[in-house]
Symmetry: C2
Subunit: 214 residues, 2 copies
DNA sequence: GTCTATACGCTGATAGAC
DNA sequence: GTCTATCAGCGTATAGAC
C-alpha cells in the first residue's frame, strides 16, 4: 500500500501478463512466441520461466486477470437506488460497450475460440467467471425493472441475445478489420450504441410492441 | 461434367482446402502445421507444396473458397417475386443463421481476427467479398419492403447492427464453448432465431414503435 | 531474479528420385 | 503428383552461473 506504481501492474508478474495480453490479442496464442513475449517485456526468455511454469500457464494468468473485477461496475449499477430503470439500462449499455470493445476482457473472445479445443478448461472458466456473471447481472437489472412495472414482461433469453449479440459482434468486427483506415466510419461505436439502446428501451416499454409476445 | 464426385471437392486441390478448412477452424492458423494437414489429407507434407506454394497461400485458398457462392441463396430471395416481404425476411434469417453458424464461411470470423494483423489483405478480401456483400443484400431486401409500404422507414445501420450482431455472436459463442456438453441448451439456434426474427419483424411493422425514430 | 548457454523436437520449405 | 530425405531456423523449456 505504501507507494503504488502508476501502472496497474503491481508486481513483475503483473507487468508480464499485461504485456503478454496485448501480444496475445494481436497475434493469437499459437502466433505469439515466448521470445516475442520476452522481447516485449525487456527481459530474457528464460526469465519468463521463473514467473510462470510454461506458456499455457502464462496464458491462463492473462485470461484470468483479464476478467477479475470486470463485473464490479455493472454490479454497482444494479445495486444503486439513485437511478431510474431506464437510466440503469443506459448505464449498463455504456459499461458493456466499453468493457467488450475497449477493455482487453471483451476482446478475448476470438482468443478463447482459438484455444477452446486444446484448453477446454480455459473456455469453461471464461464462461463461468465472466460470460455467465455478466449475463446474470443484466438479466437481474431487466427483471427488476419488470417487477417495478417500468418494463414489460420479456422473453429474457431472446432479449439477452439482442443485447449482447450486437456488442460482441461489433468488437469482433473491429478486431477483424483493425487495419482498415476507415474502421471508425465503418464500425462506429457511439452511434450504433445509441441506436441499439434506444431500440432495446422501446422493446422494454412500448405496449403495442408487447402484444404478440409469449 | 462427365461424372461428378459426391464430395464438393472436384479436384485434389479442393479436397485439400476442404480438409484444411476444418483443421484451421479447429486449431487456428498458427496452431495448424503442414504436417497436421498432410496427415489429415492422407498424403505427405511435401506433396502439399505441389498444390500450394506455401502455408499462407493454402490458407487464403481456404478462405476464398469458403465464401465463393455463399451469397447465391440470399440473392435469390431478393430477386424472387413469389414471396411477401415478411416472408423474405424470414427466409433471409434462415439463410443467415445457417451460413453463419453451420457453414464454414460464417465460422471463419475468429480465424480472420487471428490473422488480421499479419495478413491484412485477407481481412480486406473477406470484408469486401463476403461481409459487405451480405450486408448490402440484406439492406436491399429491407429497403424493398420499405418502398412497398410493407415496412416502416428505418435507421438501416442500427437495424443491420441488430440483425447481424446476434447471429455472429451466437456462432462465436458456439465456437468458444464447443466442448460443453450442454452447448445446445445454453446456446440453442432455433428458439433464438425464432425470437430474433419475430422481434425484427415487429420493429419493421409496428407503427407505435417507429414514432420516436429519426 | 536475471542472465548465458544449450537441448532437442518440430516448423515451413526444398531437392530430386520415381 | 507423390514420394523420401534433408535443411536451417525457431519453438518451448531447462541447467546452472551470478
Amino acid at each position: 500500500m505504501a507507494d503504488v506504481k502508476k501502472t496497474n501492474a503491481a508486481s513483475r508478474r503483473g507487468e508480464i501478463t499485461e504485456t503478454a495480453t496485448a501480444l496475445f490479442l494481436e497475434k493469437g496464442f499459437a502466433g505469439t512466441s515466448m521470445s516475442d513475449l520476452a522481447q516485449a517485456c525487456g527481459i530474457r526468455k528464460a526469465s519468463l520461466y521463473h514467473h510462470f511454469p510454461g506458456k499455457e500457464d502464462l496464458f491462463i494468468a492473462c485470461v484470468t486477470e483479464g476478467y477479475s473485477g470486470a463485473m464490479d461496475e455493472i454490479a454497482q449499477i444494479y445495486a444503486t437506488d439513485a437511478m431510474e430503470d431506464t437510466d440503469k439500462v443506459r448505464a449498463t449499455f455504456d459499461c458493456l460497450y466499453h468493457s467488450t470493445i475497449e477493455a482487453p476482457v471483451g476482446r478475448l473472445s476470438p482468443l478463447i475460440a482459438e484455444v477452446s479445443r486444446s484448453m477446454p478448461n480455459v473456455a469453461r472458466s471464461f464462461h463461468n467467471n465472466y460470460i455467465e456473471l455478466q449475463r446474470d447481472m443484466v438479466e437481474k437489472i431487466i427483471l427488476a425493472g419488470v417487477e417495478n412495472g417500468a418494463f414489460l414482461p420479456q422473453d429474457i433469453d431472446v432479449l439477452l441475445h439482442l443485447i449482447f449479440g450486437p456488442i460482441v459482434t461489433l468488437s469482433l468486427s473491429r478486431e477483424m478489420f483493425a487495419t482498415f483506415d476507415d474502421i471508425d466510419e465503418r464500425y462506429p461505436v457511439q452511434s450504433l450504441k445509441d441506436g441499439h439502446v434506444d431500440t432495446i428501451l422501446r422493446i422494454l416499454t412500448e405496449p403495442a410492441f408487447a402484444t404478440a409476445q409469449g
